[in-house]
């Protein structure tokens, strides 16, 4: 039981610190935090313009959910509280683990509260000042509808030059009407 309390306390601290990094928008990964060797500068650099340059970004625009970043910190707080419960309820000897877990839980709870408020304020400011613009959609030339059998070559929409021009017309488009 004491071993379980120690493990949960450590994981709670790790998750709480990662959640703190998320709320502060630090460019750090969870594996970097729990990797046992190496050094890292603190505080780590922030994510540039809210976009992580290391991971490919989806083309579909995401909607910002307030307080979503604080979920790992909240999980860390819950894990630390569990560690405190397990360590404290087992026996009087586990009171040390309970005290450590309780302190960690309270600290992480404070961090989580600050992170949530900062997230909501960030969401409030982002809705007013900075609005996410949707990604630029590719523009296609207008297709001729209703005249499948008789394509209009005068418009230049079915010619060979269209294939080399933008590369936007596939082979199926050429074979469809002929």
């Amino acid at each position: 039981m004491v071993a379980l309390a120690m493990g949960i306390t450590w994981f709670g601290y790790a998750a709480g610190l990662y959640g703190y990094c998320l709320t502060k928008q630090y460019d750090v990964q969870f594996t970097q935090l729990i990797y046992p060797t190496g050094q890292m500068s603190w505080p780590p650099g922030k994510v540039a313009n809210g976009v992580d340059s290391q991971t490919p970004q989806p083309t579909i625009t995401e909607q910002y959910v307030p307080g979503l970043d604080a979920i790992p910190a909240a999980l860390g707080s819950i894990a630390s509280a569990l560690g405190a419960l397990i360590g404290g309820a087992a026996d009087a000897a586990g009171s040390v683990a309970g005290a450590v877990g309780g302190v960690a839980g309270s600290v992480l709870g404070a961090v989580t509260g600050g992170g949530s408020s900062s997230s909501t304020s960030k969401a409030a400011t982002s809705s007013s000042s900075t609005t996410k613009t949707p990604a630029a959609q590719p523009t296609f030339p207008p297709r001729v509808t209703g005249s499948v059998g008789t394509p209009s070559t005068s418009a230049g929409q079915w010619g060979v030059s269209d294939l080399s021009g933008g590369g936007q017309w596939g082979v199926s488009d050429l074979s469809g009407g002929r």
Partner: protein, 93 residues
């Protein structure tokens, strides 16, 4: 469980040494730095179910090793960003 009290104290001392070294540089201890200490004491807690005296002795040995900075993660922790920037500026001619 009552005979695990000494092991818990030894765990707290080891964690305190690691945290103090990082806090002295105004940097929070990375969980990776605490991984070796926590993992070792988790194994010692399991061992103390069968041999509490041996587990306590090994735990005190880990405390001494952490005090002399020969235990993994017990050396100077992460570098503050300001100090790193100063070092980079001093290295450039």
């Amino acid at each position: 469980m009552a005979d695990q009290r000494g092991l818990l104290v030894a765990w707290g001392v080891a964690e305190t040494i690691v945290i103090y070294r990082s806090a002295k540089q105004h940097v929070p201890p990375r969980p990776g730095q605490l991984l070796a200490t926590s993992g070792a004491f988790i194994l010692l807690a399991v061992l103390s179910e069968f041999a509490p005296e041996l587990a306590l002795m090994v735990g005190v040995g880990i405390d001494i090793a952490a005090c002399f900075q020969v235990w993994p993660g017990s050396s100077a922790g992460d570098v503050p960003a300001a100090a790193q920037a100063l070092g980079a500026a001093a290295a450039t001619p």
